[in-house]
C-alpha cells in the first residue's frame, strides 16, 4: 500500500475539487481547449524545472512511496502533479468568479447582479 501514497494524495486533490465542477458551477474540465492552452506551457516550464533540479540532485522521490514507472526520470505521479495542482487552482478560481457573477438559474438566466 505504501507505493500508492503519492498517487493517493493526488487522487484526493482531484476528488475534493471535483464537486467544484459538478455542483459548484466551475467550467474547467468542460473547456478542454482553454485547459490545454493553459496546461501546456505550465507543464513545459515547471516540469522542465523539476527535470533540471532532479538531474542536479536538488530533490528526488522516494522509491517506497511511488509506484515505480518513470518518465524521463520522474515518477508518473510527479507528471500528474503538474496536471492535478493547476486544475485544482483553476477550479477554485472559477468557483470564486461564479460567486461574483451570480449563479446560473434554470433557463440560462443569471441570479445576482
Amino acid at each position: 500500500m505504501d507505493a500508492w501514497q503519492y498517487l493517493i494524495v493526488l487522487g484526493s486533490c482531484v476528488t475534493v475539487t471535483l464537486p467544484l465542477e459538478l455542483i459548484g458551477g466551475a467550467r474547467v474540465y468542460r473547456r478542454p481547449r482553454a485547459l490545454l492552452a493553459t496546461l501546456a506551457p505550465v507543464v513545459a516550464t515547471f516540469a522542465g524545472w523539476d527535470l533540471i533540479a532532479t538531474r542536479r540532485g536538488d530533490w528526488w522521490f522516494s522509491a517506497r512511496y511511488t509506484l515505480g514507472p518513470r518518465l524521463a526520470g520522474l515518477p508518473v505521479e510527479e507528471w500528474l502533479f503538474f496536471l492535478v495542482v493547476p486544475v485544482c487552482a483553476l477550479l477554485t478560481y472559477e468557483v470564486l468568479g461564479r460567486g461574483a457573477r451570480g449563479l446560473r438559474l434554470p433557463g440560462g438566466r443569471r441570479a445576482g447582479r
Binding site: 494524495v9 481547449r33 482553454a34 493553459t38 536538488d58 522516494s62 512511496y65 493547476p86 483553476l90 470564486l96
Partner: protein
C-alpha cells in the same frame, strides 16, 4: 545557506509576475479573486505538501545544500511556496488569456469585464 532551489524559488515568482505584467497583461494581479485563489491554494498546499515532505516518511526528499533549511509549516521547505506561487500564478494568467482568446473574434463581447 542559499542553494539552487532557494534561488529558483525567489526568482520564479518574480519572473512569472514580470511575464504577466509585460506579456500576458490579463490584469489578474489586481483582482481580489486571484489573491483569494492563491490564499486558498497555498493553504491546501500546507496539507498536501506537508504530507509529501514530512521528514518521518518523506515522499519527496531534498539535498540539504539545495535548500535554505527553513521548513515551515511542518517539514515543508519554504522554497516550495515560491514554486507553487509561480506555478499557480502562471496557470491563472494563461487561463484568463485563453478564455479571452476564445471570446475574441466575431462573438467577442465588447465592454465585457
Amino acid at each position: 545557506m542559499t542553494g539552487g532551489y532557494t534561488i529558483g524559488a525567489i526568482c520564479a515568482p518574480v519572473v512569472v509576475v514580470a511575464v504577466e505584467l509585460t506579456a500576458l497583461r490579463t490584469g489578474i494581479l489586481r483582482r481580489g479573486r486571484f489573491w483569494a485563489t492563491i490564499a486558498i491554494t497555498l493553504a491546501f498546499q500546507g496539507a498536501v505538501d506537508g504530507w509529501l515532505t514530512k521528514l518521518s516518511a518523506p515522499i519527496v526528499l531534498y539535498r540539504p545544500a539545495a535548500i535554505s533549511g527553513v521548513r515551515w509549516p511542518w517539514d515543508i521547505p519554504v522554497e516550495d511556496f515560491g514554486f507553487a506561487f509561480a506555478m499557480i500564478t502562471l496557470t491563472l494568467a494563461l487561463w484568463e488569456r485563453a478564455l479571452r482568446c476564445g471570446r475574441a473574434g466575431p462573438a467577442a463581447e465588447p465592454g465585457h469585464e
